[in-house]
Every structure is written in structure tokens, then in C-alpha cells.
């Protein structure tokens, strides 16, 4: 084997700065997309369970349209497809303010939101219908019943699958490199190109993703325990 390991490339020169920049961009992109995804997911997931058929149909359309096209295509769509449709002034403004970043936030958020909405819908459907009836019977409106009873219970029940979706979102943010968002994978490639040390660069990228994902999983499992509904589900092994 000819390969000469040289781990110092990671902290000499510009490498460390690039990786840090990439890490920050990945976190910003993922956080904004996550917020967008959760909002859309809750909205679409809840609407799919209401009695008014047109709202249900709109939610079904959103979910089936956005989850059934590859994320990569959505990245191209929001970056190359949408801006030309906007007024000239908006286009100019966008391309001076990181259009690729915002396109990636929307692509990732809207795509993941469609997936999350199915998780949220499953959570809502697992709550006995009589809970909803009890809420209405005491004078709450349908909106209040969802906001105060149905969603707070559903969201507590679906933390594990939502953790899955959140981890996927973070990892999927790497697809944004295809529309030249300088996120972590982009910067890892940059380090690799400049230093010609592929294994070192990719190891650094891999470890950073791993630590990020383990961090998220830890936070989510804390949340799960913190907000667990007393006595509702026996949590074997949950401390």
C-alpha cells in the first residue's frame, strides 16, 4: 500500500476553516428546513384527519406530490426552476442573498414536511376518536381540540419516528451541494481537492455527521422522556 496518511492536513492551511464553515452552513440549513418541515408536517398531518373533504384532498396532494419525487430533483426545481418565474427585482435580490441556500431550505423543508406529515397523521389516528368527541362536548372548537388536545398528545407519541425523519433531514442536507451550497459535504470535497488527502477529509466529514446525528438522537430521547405522558405507555428500559 502506497498511501501516506497525513492527518495534519485537517488543521493546517484553510481546511479547518472550511470544515467549520461547512458545519455552520449544514446546521443553519438543517435547522431552518426542520422548522419548515415540522410546521408543514403538523398542518398537513392534521388536515388529513379533518372531516371537510377539500382540506383533506389538499393535504393528500401536498404529501403525494412532494414525497414521491427525489430530493435531488426538488433541489434543482427550487434553484433552477422557480427563480426565473419570479419578477426580475426579486430574482436579483435572491441571487445577491444566497439564492441557493434558500432554495435548499425550501426543497429540504417541503420534502421532509411531506414525510413528517404521515408520521403526525399516524400519531393522530392512534388517539381514540372519543378523546376528540370529549373535547368538542365540553365546548371546544375543532381548532381548539386539535391545538390543545389532539396535537399535544400525538406529538408526544411520535417522537421516535420523528427522530428518524430529523436525522434523515440532516443527512439529506448534503444533497444541497449539487446546487453549490457550501455545506459540510461540499467543504469536505473542497478539503479533499486541495490537499489530495481523500481519506482524511472524508473521515473528518463522516465523524462530524456522526456526532451531529448522535447529538440529535440524544436530545430527542431526552425530549421523549421529559414529555412522556404519565402511565400511557410502558417504556421498557427508559430511565
Amino acid at each position: 500500500m502506497q498511501y501516506q496518511f497525513k492527518w495534519s492536513v485537517l488543521w493546517s492551511g484553510q481546511s479547518a476553516g472550511w470544515l467549520l464553515q461547512g458545519l455552520i452552513t449544514t446546521l443553519e440549513l438543517s435547522a431552518l428546513a426542520w422548522i419548515l418541515a415540522v410546521c408543514l408536517g403538523i398542518l398537513a398531518g392534521a388536515l388529513r384527519t379533518v372531516t371537510f373533504a377539500p382540506l383533506r384532498a389538499a393535504a393528500v396532494f401536498y404529501v403525494e406530490f412532494f414525497r414521491n419525487v427525489p430530493l435531488l430533483v426538488w433541489m434543482f426545481f427550487w434553484y433552477f426552476g422557480v427563480p426565473p418565474l419570479l419578477p426580475r427585482v426579486v430574482q436579483d435580490w435572491l441571487f445577491n442573498h444566497g439564492a441557493e441556500f434558500w432554495a435548499a431550505v425550501i426543497a429540504l423543508g417541503v420534502y421532509t414536511g411531506a414525510r413528517m406529515s404521515e408520521v403526525i397523521r399516524a400519531g393522530i389516528l392512534s388517539i381514540p376518536r372519543t378523546q376528540f368527541e370529549a373535547s368538542l362536548a365540553m365546548g371546544l372548537t375543532v381548532g381548539q381540540a386539535y391545538r390543545l388536545i389532539i396535537l399535544p398528545i400525538a406529538l408526544r407519541l411520535i417522537v421516535p419516528p420523528m427522530t428518524n425523519e430529523s436525522l434523515n433531514l440532516l443527512k439529506n442536507s448534503s444533497v444541497a451541494l449539487t446546487i453549490s451550497v457550501a455545506e459540510l459535504t461540499f467543504q469536505t470535497r473542497q478539503v479533499e481537492t486541495y490537499t489530495a488527502k481523500a481519506i482524511e477529509a472524508l473521515t473528518a466529514g463522516t465523524l462530524i455527521y456522526l456526532v451531529l446525528c448522535l447529538g440529535i438522537a440524544t436530545v430527542m430521547s431526552r425530549l421523549e422522556r421529559r414529555f412522556a405522558i404519565p402511565g400511557l405507555i410502558a417504556r421498557v428500559g427508559a430511565g
Partner: protein
């Protein structure tokens, strides 16, 4: 309040092809305690659920506290604040404490202040005999305690009518009485009550009138004394012989 609290006027309802309520004509006076009984599938739960419009009727009308439930654009939430309901499965909200369960509707619907809502809630817990469980979560209460909290929660809205849909059917035998006692007290205080129940002892002691339903129809109704001593229809006799024999 005087006069009729609930009036059913030639009410008909279908679930698909199944005719579940047939030409129901019935009035319940203010302050009256009515027990509705009948075999499984007779439509008694559906009947009571139509009063606060958890089910919609297809023909006829129901007038609840002077308000017709078939008026288009009816403010359902407002009607329901005046009609309390207690369910077979308690339906307490598992993510809230007992106190929060009782305070929710007064604060969110009636816009009562937190302090006042809490004072009312604690007084009601006293009344149903479990003031010490205010900060417990529903899952940590016995069935009987949960149902008493559910009654307190319904009373917190100061309803004019209370509906009970088989309130003791999901309870272990030793817990049935504690719930019936609360209901008896409520009746003695003059609450208008419509109870779907198989507790014939309760019907005998507390009800002003017992209604027997079968196959979506009111077959017979009379004062408890007469109802149990001398039922008129054969179907009533048959039903009573089945549930009173042991």
C-alpha cells in the same frame, strides 16, 4: 329554568342503510332525571349523542334548552357549553393533570381567570370526593376516580343539562357505587339528567322516568315504580327478566 330542557320531535336517523332512530318523540323537563335503557344496539347511545350533536339527525328536530339543533350555521360550541357529557370511557386528557382537565374548558371557552377556574375545580373535586388527587395524572387514578373527575370536568362549565352515556359500564363492580353516589347527589340538587345506563337500582331510586328503547324506537316509558313492577310491553318484560334475574 322551567319547561322542557330537551325535546325530540319525530327524530329519525340512519347509519347508511341501518335505521337507528325511528320517529322518536320525547320530552325531558327541566330538573327531570331520565334513565334510558334497552338492549345493545337499540339506539340509546345514539339518541343521547344527538342531543349535543356528536351525531347528526337526518329527519325531525331536537330542541335543546330552547335551541333547535338543526338550524343551519348553529354555534355548536356554544350549545355544548350548556350541555355536559360523561362518557363510558371517561376520556380524561392523559397529558394533563386532574386539575388541568377540569380547568381547561372554563378557561379556554368561557375565558374565566386561572384563579377562578382553579377555585371552581378544587371545589368540584371536593364535591366528587377526591380533592387529594388534584395534581395526579389520569393514568394514576382508578376507573371510579377517573369517572368522578370526568363528572367534575363536565360540571365546571355549569351546564343546564347533563348527559351520561353508560358512565359505569367500564368500571369494576366495586367502583360503580362511588360514581352512582355522585350522580345521585347531582340529581338531588335538581340537575336535569339524561342517563343511558343499565344500573336499574339507580333508575329505581333516582330517576323520575325510565325509558325503554329497542330497535331505534321508544317502546315504553313510565315512572320507575310502574316500569319495574308492571311493564306493559313484552319486549320490556323480556329485557327486564334478562338483566334483573341475577
Amino acid at each position: 329554568m322551567n319547561g322542557q330542557a330537551i325535546e325530540f320531535k319525530r327524530v329519525n336517523k340512519w347509519f347508511g342503510k341501518l335505521h337507528v332512530l325511528r320517529d322518536i318523540d320525547l320530552s325531558i323537563a327541566s330538573g327531570e332525571v331520565v334513565v334510558v335503557c334497552g338492549p345493545s344496539g337499540s339506539g340509546k347511545s345514539t339518541l343521547i349523542r344527538c342531543v349535543n350533536v356528536l351525531e347528526r339527525i337526518q329527519q325531525g328536530d331536537i330542541v335543546v334548552l330552547g335551541q333547535s339543533v338543526t338550524v343551519p350555521g348553529l354555534n355548536l360550541a356554544k350549545l355544548r357549553t350548556r350541555v355536559g357529557m360523561v362518557f363510558q370511557q371517561f376520556n380524561l386528557f392523559a397529558h394533563m393533570t386532574v386539575l388541568q382537565n377540569i380547568m381547561l374548558a372554563p378557561m379556554r371557552v368561557k375565558r374565566v381567570s386561572r384563579d377562578e377556574a382553579e377555585r371552581t375545580a378544587r371545589a368540584l373535586l371536593e364535591r366528587v370526593g377526591i380533592p387529594h388527587r388534584a395534581d395526579s395524572y389520569p393514568a394514576n387514578l382508578s376507573g371510579g376516580q377517573q369517572q368522578r373527575v370526568a363528572i367534575a370536568r363536565a360540571l365546571a362549565m355549569q351546564p343546564d343539562v347533563m348527559l351520561f352515556d353508560e358512565p359505569t359500564s367500564a368500571l369494576d363492580p366495586e367502583m360503580i357505587n362511588e360514581v352512582l353516589e355522585v350522580m345521585t347527589d347531582l340529581a338531588r340538587d335538581g340537575m336535569t339528567m339524561m342517563c343511558v345506563t343499565h344500573e336499574m337500582g339507580f333508575a329505581r331510586r333516582v330517576a323520575h322516568r325510565v325509558i325503554f328503547m329497542d330497535e331505534g324506537q321508544v317502546i315504553e316509558q313510565s315512572e320507575p315504580e310502574a316500569f319495574f313492577a308492571a311493564p306493559k310491553s313484552d319486549r320490556t318484560k323480556q329485557f327486564l327478566s334478562k338483566i334483573l334475574s341475577h
